[in-house]
Amino acid sequence: MDGMDDIVREFIVESYENLDQLDQDLVALEDQPGSRDLLGSVFRTIHTIKGTSGFLAFGKLESLTHGGENLLAELRDGKRPMTQRTTDVLLKMVDAVRDVLATIEATGLEGESDMSAVVADIQSVLDDPTEGQSEEATVVEEPAAQHDEQVDEETTVEPQEVEEALAKAPSAAPLKKTRIVAARKPRTPAAEPTPAAPHAAAPKTIKSRKAIAAEPMPSATLSAAVDDGYFDDLDSEIAEGTFEDEAALEGVVEPEIVVSNPAPVTEKVTAPADGEPREKTARERESGPARSASEQSIRVDVDVLDALMRHVGELVLARNAMTRLAGDLGDASLVRASQRLSLIATELQQGVMKTRMQPIEHLWSKVPRMVRDISASLGRQVRIEMIGQDTELDRGLLEAIKDPLTHLIRNAIDHGIEPPTVRQAVGKPVQGVLTLRAFHQGGQVVVEISDDGKGVDPLIIGAKAIERGLRTHGQVAEMSTQDLLQLLFLPGFSTAETVTNVSGRGVGMDVVRTKVESIGGVVDVQSTLGLGTTWRLRIPLTLAIMPALTVKCSGETYAVPQVSLLELLAIDDKQTGVEYVGDAPVFRLRGKLLPLVELRDVLGRPERESLVGAVVVVLHSDGGPFGLVVDQVLNTEEIVAKPIAAAVKSIGLYAGATLLGDGAVALILDVAAVARRALDVDLQEAMKKVAVDTVGASKTEPMLIVSVGEGRQVAMPLGAVTRLERLNASVIEQVSGSAVMQYRGKITPVADLAQLLGDGGTSREEFAVVVCTRGHHTVALVANEVVDIVDCATADFSEVSGYGLLGSIVIKDKVTELLDLHSAVESADPGFYDAEDAELVGAGSEL
């Protein structure tokens, strides 16, 4: 683009922006075919491009847009309705315009590409008589169309009039204005009877553009029309009730919105005192509503902002060093100076960050067009809902989530939303809804993509995972729904039965996940079969500078991004809350088991002698929360992630490195990677199950709790127990290597639970015996004491297990293991369950 005229460059940048808006407007037009507002906006955009390209001697562009303009003029005038074909041809024209602009941007010339086909297409639509008059347009909206056109013309072509009218407004308008408003008040409660006068008289009070948009802006412009004598007729018409139809009344209201939109009017209202040259106002008027750049903003090269951000990053680090030095030296004036520096640095940082923030709308604005194209090619009907378009995030991040977002949207339409016939069959509205939602939450931006489609069937995912050899049958059988959904993120996973050109080629969610994680974000999915799927991206606000926790481990300092931080726990002298499930340490946190990961183990550092005094950093990871055990938490610090050598990056534990206040390099831990590396997959998933399943209601079952060995508690279903006895140790006898006892006149095999679970053996004078009887078979299980019988939800059991165990659960503040009764009984009497003769005797206890 070197050497290109500034004016051409500006034209291109502006046109691109306008075209994006155009895409949105055209797609929106399909939903609201009659909207004068949208038609007006589309018309003005094309008109602007046409005008400017004529001025800059881009003949091809001019001829392209000229055809489109003609077509749009007819649409706007209500001479033809908006049809699918019209939209198609207009979108085609937009694409062609974009192509030409790209060529101009690259070469400075329009290029050789042939646009005559597109022009011919437009012409053929224009010439097509069958596309002509529609009842809707003629009968109901005719009056509206007329008013609209005239009013619109007045504002567009003769801007002075509006201004003149504005000047006169205070005196001229109020009376008539009020009358009109009163007449249509029942239909449009938003348009309060605010006469034009207050706006013109006290314009300084209205500060933001938003506020103006919310105000009944028509007043000012209306007054122009009123001044022109035009609305006199209209007034009388309304007053006399000429319009029979309510829709017609609505139509009358609409033109106001159209005329109220042009930016210059709002600007005039906000700042009537400033001597803005008329020429500029006129130009902005042409370029359409709201989006025209106000004179308060300037375009800045992104590279400049990036460089600025880098420098601020360095400044923050220097500030950190300074603060530390000042603290060490203890010089009061130095401390003061460093505090001031710190304050300024923080403000500067926030300011620069703000310049880089962009509303997510920038990304979303392209979505309607994309959704339209995809759903058309797949034969779906999709409506988009967007919530939180003005949620802001760093433009670098915005760029980074573009591809994942596109992918997820494609996916939602292709795999989520069903074809219309299917939707009809299951009783859903034919049109599917795709909802995009963005909001700030805890210093992060959350972006959700939800569809109301068929949802993801966990069983199919499980089957696919087995088929692809990613998981075994056994693994899949034990997985919860949520775990199964997580499989979607595995590389090489696609559930699409057929590969379409939209999605289903097996590269997909893993790429999304990698991409999101590369910017320090997290992605997860929730789905309800038949109701829809929600993908949720959680991303940091900015990449350049992030708050982090500095921790000590074995004499070394590491940084943990606070994005993943949930809370900090100290382990006291008695190690309250620390339990062991098998060998794995867990922390009992508010009734839930939190797996503990020793950072020393992860980093291969010498093992800690005791957990006492250590700090548990509770972190969020894909597999749910986990506790990272560190020696000490030092500080929270704003850190700037520095790139690290590939040799260090490839270790896969570090997200980068940073410089601390004392100048030392600290590695930034990649929390997701640490979790993946440290947590045994089974353990992690079992823990997740604890978290997930306790939420959902599950059926409860009475459980017998007995103590075993050294302070362990074991639970078994009470229903399987026939009797409980308290017996003396002497009853047990050894017969050919196996323990037996005489019980109710029979020789009964005995299994010592302590021995079975690898906890030595039960060596007590007296102990509890759990008797299980099935037909003629009876087995006695030996434990220390019967502790309790409690009702608990079997689903609450996490699958943290060892030999002879099915899982574990917290009962009355103690980790209790669920006995694998089946194998325990079989260890004593292998034929116990083979016995054909009828059921288990019991279902209760005879204490």
């Binding site: 070394e556 940073t658 100048g663």
Partner: protein, 139 residues
């Protein structure tokens, strides 16, 4: 043709790298260990605000590791425009050497060295092994 080589000592041998590749020679900075890194990574150092990888040349060349009392030095070289710090025993002079003094690496050289040494300069008082910087920093 003359060659300018920055020299350094490592385990009683003299090595040299093309002087144009050398950015600076410094006393040892505080380094940050990188757990699970290859043995040849001596850590990361802060070089005027830049985080720089430090390569343990002794490990790279298959020599004995440093003891606790050793005070190695840093030779910072440029690789693809990025600085990389090499850990060496002692930094020597920059020598201007003649092509005639240059010969191929002797076949008796240990395998660990043979790949990294481009050739040998014979000096009056011994040999100078010329190192391939790009290969040496590949850890």
């Amino acid at each position: 043709m003359k060659h300018q080589l920055a020299t350094f000592k490592l385990d009683n041998r003299l090595y040299g790298v093309d002087v144009s590749r050398v950015q600076e020679a410094l006393r040892l900075h505080t380094r940050t260990a990188v757990p699970h890194a290859p043995r040849t990574v001596a850590g990361l150092v802060n070089l005027r605000g830049q985080v720089v990888l430090m390569v343990d040349l002794r490990a790279r060349l298959g020599r004995e590791p440093y003891g606790p009392d050793d005070e190695p030095m840093m030779v910072v070289v440029k690789v693809d425009g990025e600085p990389v710090s090499l850990l060496v025993d002692q930094v020597g002079d920059v020598l201007e050497l003649d092509s005639e003094q240059f010969g191929p690496p002797p076949p008796t050289l240990e395998p660990a060295l043979r790949d990294l040494v481009t050739g040998v300069f014979s000096l009056e008082d011994g040999l100078l092994l010329s190192l391939d910087v790009d290969l040496a920093v590949r850890v």
